[in-house]
Symmetry: C2
Subunit: 187 residues, 2 copies
DNA sequence: GTCTATACTTCGATAGAC
DNA sequence: GTCTATCGAAGTATAGAC
């Protein structure tokens, strides 16, 4: 209940609003319980982070199994960007948070690159001189920034960029699914 | 002096550290002067934002005049990303800040796209089916995310992505400079 | 585990003298 | 413009009873 409250506060009012008093009030509990369960606010932030990582891991597992990997991966990075921004800002001045975020970011990226690499190799997809690892970074960067800007109310150039991305994605998925059918019919 | 102190605090310790007391202390002034000059903390954040916009405008003017526009544009988005992250987080729960950031972001992007559009047309550059506006978004997104991740200590996939970007950029600048010489020799 | 009580610090903001 | 003085609210965190 406390972590849910903390998460909601961070989303709605930013990391600065995540205080023992406000978190407790949102969960209809006494502020002292925050210290009983987490000892310090730093520990609460770490617990919140780890809960999120577990949730994302499960989500990513489904994404990487989908036949439309690129499409799903795009959507994956487009959700909860507000939380990501807050956590990134928090990481800039809470060393424990930074270490936790960095370690997991590397982990998630490696897993994504590995799956894309397998898909590209298995279906002989023409990735146009773009190695799987770069493709992952490209998708992450574009989807994240577009989502962040959309949250802010900035949309200039989004239509043109989305058109470009969709063209590439469609071609990629078409190759993947065509090969997939071929492989299947050979069974 | 107060704005400089505020800026520095935001960079080093995040927006939550930008309080009247701490800003004043850093500037060796009394906290009450913050309220004398800015009335509220919200006004201080807006003043800080506008000072930054002016500074960026001047910087961008130089960037857009450079013969290596793409290269300079990349570096332009790579500076002060920590501040950008803090301001974005701040914008998520300070409506006045959000409006100011959004309006200026659109403005900056339009200016960049216009210049790239002119360069591409003037030198007959092959932008590979990527409209100038999408090219601007691509550069912004990639450079920003790479810089943000580098600040966090995340570097997986950066080498592969940079190689890709540098290849494209080099080809772009080569076309631009070749044509530029041709045009110059016709004078 | 949850409560009351509390210590101490810091916050945004204002009043009024000089 | 800058100072002293001050308000009330909110911050992190602890002690100790139940």
């Amino acid at each position: 209940m406390l972590l849910d409250a903390a998460r909601q506060l961070m989303l709605e009012e930013g990391y600065a609003a995540v205080t023992s008093r406000r978190v407790a009030a949102k969960a209809r509990l006494k502020p002292q319980l925050v210290y009983y369960y987490f000892r310090t606010m730093d520990d609460l932030f770490l617990a919140l982070l780890r809960q999120n990582v577990d949730h994302y891991l499960e989500h990513q597992r489904q994404v990487l199994e989908s036949p439309q990997v690129l499409q799903k991966l795009w959507e994956f990075h487009t959700t909860e960007t507000r939380l990501v921004v807050e956590l990134t800002a928090l990481a800039n001045h809470r060393p424990a948070v930074r270490a936790e975020i960095a370690a997991n970011a590397e982990r998630f990226r490696s897993m994504q690159a590995e799956v894309l690499s397998r898909v590209i190799a298995a279906h002989g997809i023409d990735s146009k001189g773009c190695p799987p690892m770069a493709l992952v970074v490209l998708i992450t960067a574009l989807s994240r920034i577009l989502a962040m800007e959309r949250d802010l109310g900035v949309t200039t150039g989004h239509a043109e960029t989305l058109a470009l991305v969709e063209r590439y994605t469609a071609e990629f998925e078409r190759s993947a699914s065509t090969e997939r059918v071929k492989v299947a019919s050979h069974r």
